[in-house]
Assembly symmetry: C2
Homo-oligomer: 319 residues x 2
């Protein structure tokens, strides 16, 4: 048996796991991302945690490689670039730092790309060579796989489906532009749609009594399940926009499937039905019926750690 | 020296060329696509023409392979599928027919894909591993290259940029849907925009005295060069829509360049200026300045034959 380390860097927590080739997480721990003043001390802390995790296994093999999923992670350079939700600014050569701290080969990519590789190795995409994983959380991330290979593009930043502009002069986006898909299709996007519907329809919905800053996507899903018409319509609009964007994306990539992951995907049929319906209605005739819409098979496991580990496995096996 | 055959099947004419590895066309001829009642007799006619071309070369090497660019050509299956501008309907196993008629290995793809491979082997994309070729003619075709490989998708029909829907409830498209990019950005799309502007602005333009069915994209370019405001605005709108679509496409693929080819691309700055301006204005900040807009280097050569030949060279060299 051999093992790799998968590391998921989040704005708040960073999760480390030791993972075998079948995707079993043999050991796992979490550290506080915000506790380290500079990336060097953070890399040292990860190295120490990995050593501790490794020592607790009985008769462990050496760690063959490290994979990291990080916000704004660039696979080509191994850098984390201007990540808005991390305290370290600028371009951080994090794969190098971690390689220096551990003595172990380290590869890094962004979290959605790592999730796509994890889905291919351990999840719902094991039989696919052309698919996209779409993560619906605080933003909309995506990782595209074409011919079995992750698509990085010339800069390493390909696959930004969340930043395709879908509404002219639409909602303001954190990227500085307007109308990006993720301002509509993400957990905050759903809440902005609730606000839009409250403005259109008045305050008859049960959601109107909750401050928007306290409201969660799960609250909207609960209200919809209980028959709240506005909450249902919020999912309808969200799914319709996602379906339209997926149909356009299919015309470019002709994937076997889109796989949805993340908090919004937990809403199940509330989201999947309008998405599927609109995607198929708008599909280029020659592609009709060729693209499946699936739920991630890693939703209830530690998908981010598995994705980062899968990235490392790919690198180890290629070397 | 060795040679391959490049064959460009068009609705009216089919052009055959014998091409060396440097992209020199050593011999070329054209046959009438419409003269053959069935694809079998058409394949026999191509085989006979290739033999005749080959015999006229002095001391020729054998033909190492045949590449075919065809409307609705599918690389995976070697079939031509429901091509609207060919008389043979249904799914035609044309690579097989031509292999049988010639005894030579044959590969086939659609014309825009072939043009992208030609551009990579002989043209403006020789240093690129991530780019898209966009052909602007009677339609808008495109071929996407990612990591040095043409992107076919799971069906073989990836890269349909012309059928991304860019205007809700927009112009009717030949594909049966509405608002596809090619209904705006193509030679006929430009003329539809002229009609739209005539309806908006009245008939002050010099173009209003020409029947729309006689008008060509070159006429609109000539009028624009001579200062006709409506003709200029038609190119502005066309380029703006193209630039917006390219910025969205860049967020998915992060290419080094978009390379424009075909009749509309001959309009030069009239088209390139608004396209470049709008593309850059809408570019995702992390990609700003990373994507070039270029003119094909094969515009004044037989790009379709060279593309088909390049497809064959790729196949021959891989075998």
């Amino acid at each position: 048996m051999s093992i790799v380390a998968g590391i998921d860097i989040g704005g708040t927590n960073t999760v480390l796991g030791l993972v075998d080739r079948e995707g079993a997480i043999l050991a796992e721990r979490s550290i506080d991302t915000t506790a380290y003043p500079d990336p060097e001390s953070f890399a040292e802390a990860i190295a120490a945690s990995l050593r501790a995790l490794h020592e607790h296994l009985s008769a462990p093999p050496p760690i063959a490689g490290i994979g990291v999923g990080a916000p704004n992670g660039n696979y080509f350079s191994g850098t984390i670039e201007e990540a808005p939700n991390l305290r370290w600014k600028g371009v951080i050569p994090f794969a190098d730092l971690l390689r220096d701290a551990t003595g172990i080969d380290t590869v890094l990519t962004n979290d959605a790309n790592a999730a796509a590789i994890g889905e291919m190795m351990f999840g719902a995409a094991s039989h696919f060579r052309d698919f996209a994983l779409v993560t619906l959380g605080t933003g909309l991330g995506s990782g595209f796989v074409a011919g079995g290979e992750l698509l990085y593009g010339s800069t390493g930043f390909a696959g930004e489906l969340g930043h395709v502009i879908v509404v002219e002069q639409g909602r303001r986006c954190g990227c500085g532009r307007r109308g990006c898909l993720e301002t509509y299709v993400s957990a905050p996007g759903l809440l902005r749609t609730v606000a839009e519907l409250l403005s259109e329809q008045g305050f008859g919905s049960s959601l109107s009594s909750i401050p928007l800053t306290s409201l969660t996507a799960a609250d909207v899903a609960d209200a919809a399940q209980q028959g709240d018409a506005l909450a249902r319509l919020a999912f309808e609009r969200t799914g319709s926009l996602l379906g339209a964007a997926l149909a356009n994306t299919a015309a470019l990539f002709s994937p076997e499937a889109f796989i949805l992951f993340g908090g919004l995907a937990r809403a199940g049929r509330l989201l999947f039905e309008p998405t599927q319906r609109e995607m198929e209605a708008r599909m280029l005739p020659i592609l009709k019926g060729s693209v499946r819409l699936l739920r991630s098979a890693l939703m209830d496991r530690n998908a981010a750690v598995l994705g980062a580990a899968a990235l490392s496995w790919k690198s180890v096996e290629r070397a």
